[in-house]
Symmetry: C2
Subunit: 358 residues, 2 copies
Amino acid sequence: MRLSEKELISLIKRRLAKSTPSEGTIVGPGDDAAIIAPTPGEALVISTDAVVEDVHFRLEWATGFLLGSKSLLSSISDIFAMGARPQACLVSLGLSSRIDPLFVEDLFEGMLKEAGRLGASIVGGNITRSDKVFIDMTVTGLVAPGAAITRAGAGVGDAIYVTGCLGGAALAAECLFGGRMDKGAVVKTESFLRDDMAEPQGDDAAQIALLSRFFAPPIRAQESLTLAAARICTSMIDISDGIGSDLREVCRESGVGAVIEIDSIPVFDRVPGSAATKKSDMLELAISGGEDYELLFTVRQADELRLHRLFRTNDLCKITKIGRITPSSEGLVFLDKNGRASGGFTGFDHFSKKEEGH
Amino acid sequence: MRLSEKELISLIKRRLAKSTPSEGTIVGPGDDAAIIAPTPGEALVISTDAVVEDVHFRLEWATGFLLGSKSLLSSISDIFAMGARPQACLVSLGLSSRIDPLFVEDLFEGMLKEAGRLGASIVGGNITRSDKVFIDMTVTGLVAPGAAITRAGAGVGDAIYVTGCLGGAALAAECLFGGRMDKGAVVKTESFLRDDMAEPQGDDAAQIALLSRFFAPPIRAQESLTLAAARICTSMIDISDGIGSDLREVCRESGVGAVIEIDSIPVFDRVPGSAATKKSDMLELAISGGEDYELLFTVRQADELRLHRLFRTNDLCKITKIGRITPSSEGLVFLDKNGRASGGFTGFDHFSKKEEGH
């Protein structure tokens, strides 16, 4: 790299020193380890997630700012998926000698923007050489004991809900990796997310909306905290691998099955001309594509009215009921509009082929 | 990879379920995030560190078990370097399709052995595809507020001490990367560290001693906790980049300079025939080589007697005084036995050339 590791670390430390540390930071970046004060009476939540060059992104079309944003958001999503508030982030970078220091500065700009918005601060990290760039981010959070929402509490009869809409991130990834959207559209998306451009119009607006699903997924912070405070969910997970895979995790951990009505799945619909896709392909992306970082959660039928009131009175995002929990003997079933188990979406094993995709 | 990501995760979860969770683990591996209970009144310490294929190791000579051991120890070292007790580890793996599941099982065997010995447990992690293997480990710990030892407290006149001896890990790395020691010696080292062999003799014993410095660095757990409890150190750091670089960090953070007497530096001396090295080269490795994970710490002159008594009565490792803290205007100076500033070791900038090495 054009700066030595130590010079790069100094540059990053100077940038981080200008950001506001979150409450509880006792020792920030620059020592052997960071020190943060837990809130008395609360438990620590911690998770880690990595993005890797040529697996999750390509340097030919990604920008530092957007990668910083994406890596921060995809990691912090796991904290909210437990119903916890994020507190501190550690950034472990693998950087090749091809990487410009400006790229690294932009990476931290993107991370800091999203961390600041979501109440977390970057307290430490590590830099190492690596042929392919990787960004591994660990995030800690806090939650009142007993308020955390795991994958393990779904009960037979519970309704299954998702926030927002699905499939957009996977479609964006398909377009980016497949060359159907180029760096120009990515740069416009960055300008938009940096609040550096006037309201986009027409196909520009649709391209930005689509790419934002990939680079700046809509972390449902208020929604998850409200759900946790209301103690209304029996289980919750963030959708990082598609409903098929993530719901299967909930089923496995809760010891239940599930039936999903395919036509009720809310699919991303602001598709720009350059990314035109059949509806059935969008459904496939919503189910198996991943990286949407919407929430999937279950509530008891008796709590559904309260759930809708909760989202309405707090002005939260759209939620959609997509199915219900069944006994584990019934497995995971996807039903088409005629109530028939839909080919290709019927079972647990269909998705294993997909799992090694990005 | 020969197993899908999910299959590999299941395999790892089954293995982790057999290990004893450390005190305070509320939700372990397998959910969106882990949950751990802090000890009331203590602060959370957190650090991250990565090892990368072809930068820190080569697959042609490393074993899964030894890499697991090395990655766990090099990360946990930062927690002890703050005077804190480790609690929870998160393992973020980048694995290529060439990797055998047995390698991954061995990796966790190595990690779990060392984590168990040092009182930590593995509570979560992540797996992603990556062309080159990387292991990024985040470790959390606990410390009484005010007992943590940072890099920032060294004062003029303080004595500078190091634990154990230096240069062995860098010599081992030189031999491994340079083809002067082969996989046979590495496999013997693994057997020895797994307690699977009789006491080695002769050159075998020396090879194992050398390679153990690289794969299983001697984390100074009791030493650092004793130092923290005694509140005797004005600063502390673990030596991961060589005294030159790490002492410079202490000087920068504390706003001081330092003078080091080169001849007092304790150098690794169980060098096997195959790794024969000039004494001056061993000194160079001790100063600039890194990866020793010994502790460097400073104490007030008035506390030196108490320090030695503390180490003797608690039966702790060897410590050696190597110099003293000076005003920052004097910089970082290395003196030879005639009291002359030694060429090559005189200043801050000499080491910048080395920083991009492994």
